[in-house]
């Protein structure tokens, strides 16, 4: 029996046979870019997980943590992949103090379930990532997944108070704490957030929770051209308004969101319309003020039409917005989703360059421009005799260049596996790559956590 086979036997013994599977039908569900693990384990408790990591590390087994599997195709092709480690059994609320607005949960808990618990106390976590209502806290943190609400509340790093994780040595480690203000020790949890499981396995997360606003409304406006939508975005950004979400939507993305019907049910929605969506929340008077000012600013920016949504349709719209780029990518296998960070002042030339990159390679582009400087771009290759992957690769390179010219960065979030072989999905290397590699070696010297999936093959 090889070293790794022996280790798998030990893992099965540690997990218990009911929590271990090497059956093809099971392991194939954890496939990443054609790489399939030898086994899937579901540690029944954190202690067992820690012991399993210790055993795996000694045998150099490569582990990929998995929650609901919604983002397994994010990141690079795994260099090695022996065991998928499910966090499903680690799903308890460990502490919730509504009076203190603080919360401690295990990583395998489902976000939608958790939001229900918080709603009983009129509170919530301002996390609205794609793939709702699926998705676990651990997976969302590992991918640093965010949604439209990041405009008003920031991302997970801004309201995560501390994390516990199993380190490569198989010990339980912790940084941060459970109180809303704390500067003791290094903020290792900030490194874990967005590390795509490459530094350890997150087991517990502590958050600050937020009160549900008493009222909310979504205002929308459509424009015949892009300039109007961008002008309105800028006017709102420079106004005293404090929206919780602010998005500029390209025509193709608007159709996916079903905006034409929301905007003007039963009426013609001209081709090429750009839209802007703004969510306001707070006391009723605050929402009214946003409505009133929005209308004035939309008119000044030359809006062709506007709308106001509340209640269930409002909630449904924002769910579609969170999912839109990724949903579009499920329509065709060749679809590719990129995330571009940029400075708002450079939006005009950046969007021009993105449109040009798509057009030159015969593909349709959908764009969602999120408040604080994030552009979600989907590329759908048109029917053509030319193979899709080389065209996508060329378009992605053009996008990397355009992002750099706009003072930002681009990366490929989701794409066909063949494209991952043709392009570095993380974009051109940056000068801090060596520091990142040092971080990886410090946390995971034997490279057992998601090898190959993170930045530049980390």
């Amino acid at each position: 029996m090889s070293l790794s086979d022996a280790a798998l036997v030990k893992l099965e013994a540690l997990a218990g046979p009911e929590n271990f599977s090497a059956e093809w039908e099971e392991v194939v569900q954890y496939d990443i870019d054609g790489e399939t693990p030898s086994a899937v384990v579901t540690p029944p408790a954190v202690e067992a997980l820690a012991e399993m990591v210790r055993v795996a590390a000694e045998a150099r087994l490569a582990l990929v943590p998995a929650g609901e599997k919604t983002k397994l195709d994010f990141g690079g092709i795994p260099d090695r992949y022996d065991v998928a480690v499910r966090t499903a059994a680690l799903n308890r609320v460990l502490a919730y103090d509504p009076g203190d607005l603080t919360l401690s949960v295990e990583a395998g808990i489902n976000l939608a379930e958790l939001q229900k618990r918080l709603a009983e106390h009129k509170q919530f976590l301002p996390l609205d990532p794609p793939f709702a209502p699926r998705g676990t806290i651990g997976g969302i943190l590992a991918a640093n997944s965010s949604g439209p609400l990041r405009h008003g509340y920031g991302t997970a790093r801004d309201f995560t108070l501390g994390l516990e994780f199993v380190s490569e040595e198989g010990t339980r480690a912790r940084s941060g704490g459970r109180v809303v203000k704390n500067v003791a020790g290094y903020d290792l949890h900030k490194l874990m957030i967005g590390a795509l499981g490459s530094l350890g396995i997150i087991t517990v997360a502590n958050f600050r929770t937020f009160p549900q606003p008493p009222a909310s409304a979504t205002l929308g406006a459509s424009f015949l051209g892009r300039e109007g939508a961008l002008a309105l975005r800028r006017a709102i950004a420079e106004s005293p308004l404090q929206p919780r979400a602010l998005e500029v939507v390209s025509p193709r993305m608007a159709r996916l969101l079903n905006l034409p019907n929301v905007m003007a049910p039963g009426r013609e929605f001209p081709e090429g319309q750009w839209s802007l969506l703004m969510a306001a929340a707070g006391h009723a008077q605050v929402v009214q003020r946003h409505s009133f000012d929005f209308r004035g600013m939309a008119e000044a920016a030359g809006a062709a039409g506007w709308f106001n949504l509340e209640g269930a349709p409002e909630t449904a719209l924002w769910q579609r917005v969170a999912n839109a780029p990724y949903e579009m990518a499920t329509i065709s296998e060749a679809d590719t989703v990129m995330k571009i960070t940029a400075l708002p002042a450079a939006y005009g030339p950046l969007l021009d360059a993105l449109e040009r990159a798509a057009e030159e390679k015969q593909m349709s582009a959908g764009m969602l421009i999120r408040g604080p400087g994030v552009v979600h771009l989907t590329l759908t290759p048109d029917e053509s005799h030319q193979p899709a992957v080389p065209r996508l690769a060329a378009a992605c390179h053009a996008v990397f260049d355009a992002a750099a010219r706009a003072g930002g960065r681009a990366l490929i979030e989701r794409c066909p596996t063949e494209l991952k072989r043709a392009v570095s999905i993380w974009g051109p290397p940056r000068q801090d790559l060596a520091l990142m590699q040092q971080v990886k070696r410090t946390f995971d010297p034997r490279s057992i956590f998601s090898p190959g999936r993170f930045l530049a093959g980390i």
Binding site: D158, S167, P211, W426, M436
Partner: protein
């Protein structure tokens, strides 16, 4: 201890004679920081460029001497003291704002820029830099980054780490590396998150890219006055529990507000047991609704009176009282020891009673000033350094307060940092495995351990007897500003 003459000559060649201080009388100025335990550097240097910082770092590595960074020296945990001697690098000359980008709401600054100077520089564009430590008129943004500084308004706006997007680092090897950038979400690990708050133990920072916020349309400042401290803490519990998030929610107990009033004439009522200084900001409508809700809660919790600042002058006066509280207390006691514990906000009333009990038991006078809204406590334990007995009692009382904070799920420091003040307390908060991993991270970036040595980590490994040396707050005429002074 005088510096090796060869090293001094090299430093003078690098920085010019005016950039190097080595006379014992000059060094005396730099053996303190905002609080005070003495630790005298062997030489103090004043670089004016990243290149000079690189030169200093390389020189320190070559000669294997400790190297400590320092802003204005207002820190409260001994972070900017040269605990093991060596070179103290003061960033006072690297105080330029390199770029202000109003449309994208960004600024790039050198580490020696004074916190408030940045907000002043962008005020014309309706913007401000959110972290606002009480020392913001003198403390530097480099120091804020090292300590992950907070302030009263962090209740709503977050601490320094929430506002830093990019850093230029000089690593102990002398290599210059940029991390993060002007945009959000730079691909890769969140290195900003690691380096901000690393207390100068991982790298020297020579440029900082920060986010600027738009100034709120309206601000209202309330002063709620109480007959008992319990009613004041209960108000905070109630405000938090109702999901009201003011921009700031500060508490001063009777002892402290009387000390402040004699000095600042802010209008704090001398016969009250406690006051809450609460500020709300945002849209006019938000501010009006929140102020109304807060007044209602204050009344419900038996506030004797709730005043609203009528204009900016009254508002500034109230804040002057709050922000100068430490200075005011310094006039009354030869020495005092400020704590920085954090507790869950639901525990405020019992914690204040506990602090009272502990201090009574040790016969110590205490003044309490809290960032109550986020459960961050600053009890000031008064003593006379000339009395060994008083000093020992203060140490014991402080340890009991810290132990209590930890026992209710809190922390030993909310914003002042660990430094050399609380490093021996770290094992109370973190396991050996946690600390081992943090040490590995330090050893990765600071392999020789020469960068800010003997800080943040406990000196002994086991969790045996904890011995804490408090940083003694001096009385009147505190040399806190000494670090800001430049050599002649």
């Amino acid at each position: 201890m005088p510096m090796n003459a060869a090293i001094l000559r090299e430093l003078e060649a690098l920085l010019g004679a005016e950039g190097v201080l080595s006379k014992p009388t000059d060094l005396l100025m730099y053996e303190y920081d905002g609080s005070v335990e003495e630790a005298r550097p062997e030489v103090v240097v004043f670089p004016s460029s990243t290149e000079q910082v690189v030169g200093i770092v390389q020189l320190a590595a070559r000669h294997q001497v400790p190297l400590v960074g320092r802003g204005a020296g207002t820190g409260l945990s001994g972070g900017a003291l040269a605990r093991q001697g060596g070179i103290l690098t003061v960033f006072a000359r690297m105080n330029r704002i390199l770029e202000i980008d109003t449309e994208n709401q960004r600024a790039v600054v050198q580490p020696g820029v004074v916190n408030l100077d940045l907000s002043r520089a962008v005020d014309h564009a309706g913007l401000f830099f959110a972290p606002d430590p009480s020392s913001q008129k003198s403390c530097t943004i480099g120091g804020n980054v090292a300590e992950n500084a907070g302030g009263p308004h962090t209740l709503l706006y977050g601490v320094t780490t929430n506002h830093v997007l990019g850093l230029q680092l000089v690593l102990p090897s002398g290599e210059v590396v940029g991390i993060g950038g002007k945009t959000v979400d730079t691909p890769g690990y969140d290195l900003n998150g690691l380096f901000v708050g690393s207390e100068g133990t991982l790298a020297m920072v020579t440029e900082i890219t920060v986010r600027l916020l738009r100034k709120p349309e309206a601000v209202k400042t309330l002063l709620a006055i109480y007959e008992t401290a319990d009613d004041a803490t209960q108000t905070v519990v109630e405000i938090t529990g109702r999901g009201i998030t003011p921009a700031a929610c500060e508490m001063l107990d009777g002892w402290t507000l009387r000390a402040v009033e004699a000095f600042a004439h802010a209008g704090f009522p001398l016969d009250s047991a406690a006051v809450l200084l609460i500020e709300v900001d945002g849209l006019r409508e938000t501010v009006e609704a929140q102020a109304r809700d807060i007044e209602e809660v204050c009344k419900l919790c038996r506030a004797r009176e709730v005043r609203r600042a009528r204009d900016d002058r009254e508002r500034e006066l109230l804040w002057k009282g709050r922000k100068n509280a430490f200075g005011a207390v310094g006039r009354l006691s030869p020495s005092y020891y400020v704590q920085d514990g954090v507790i869950p906000r639901t525990r405020l009333p019992e914690t204040l009673r506990k602090i009272d009990d502990i201090c009574r038991r040790y016969n110590i006078e205490v003044g309490n000033i809290f960032h109550a809204g986020d459960g961050n406590l600053h009890p000031m334990l008064l003593f006379d350094l000339r009395s060994k007995e008083q000093f020992d009692n203060v140490v014991r009382a402080a340890n009991e307060i810290m132990a209590y904070c930890i026992s209710v799920g809190g922390s030993i420091t909310g914003e002042h940092g660990v430094g050399m003040e609380k490093n021996e307390l770290m094992p109370l908060l973190f396991s050996e495995a946690d600390l081992a991993l943090m040490r590995r991270v330090r050893d990765t970036f600071n392999p020789t351990g020469l960068l800010n040595p003997a800080k943040l980590f406990p000196s002994t490994k086991g969790c045996g007897e904890i011995r804490v040396q408090p940083l003694v707050q001096p009385g009147a005429g505190a040399p806190a500003a000494a670090g800001a002074a430049r050599p002649a």
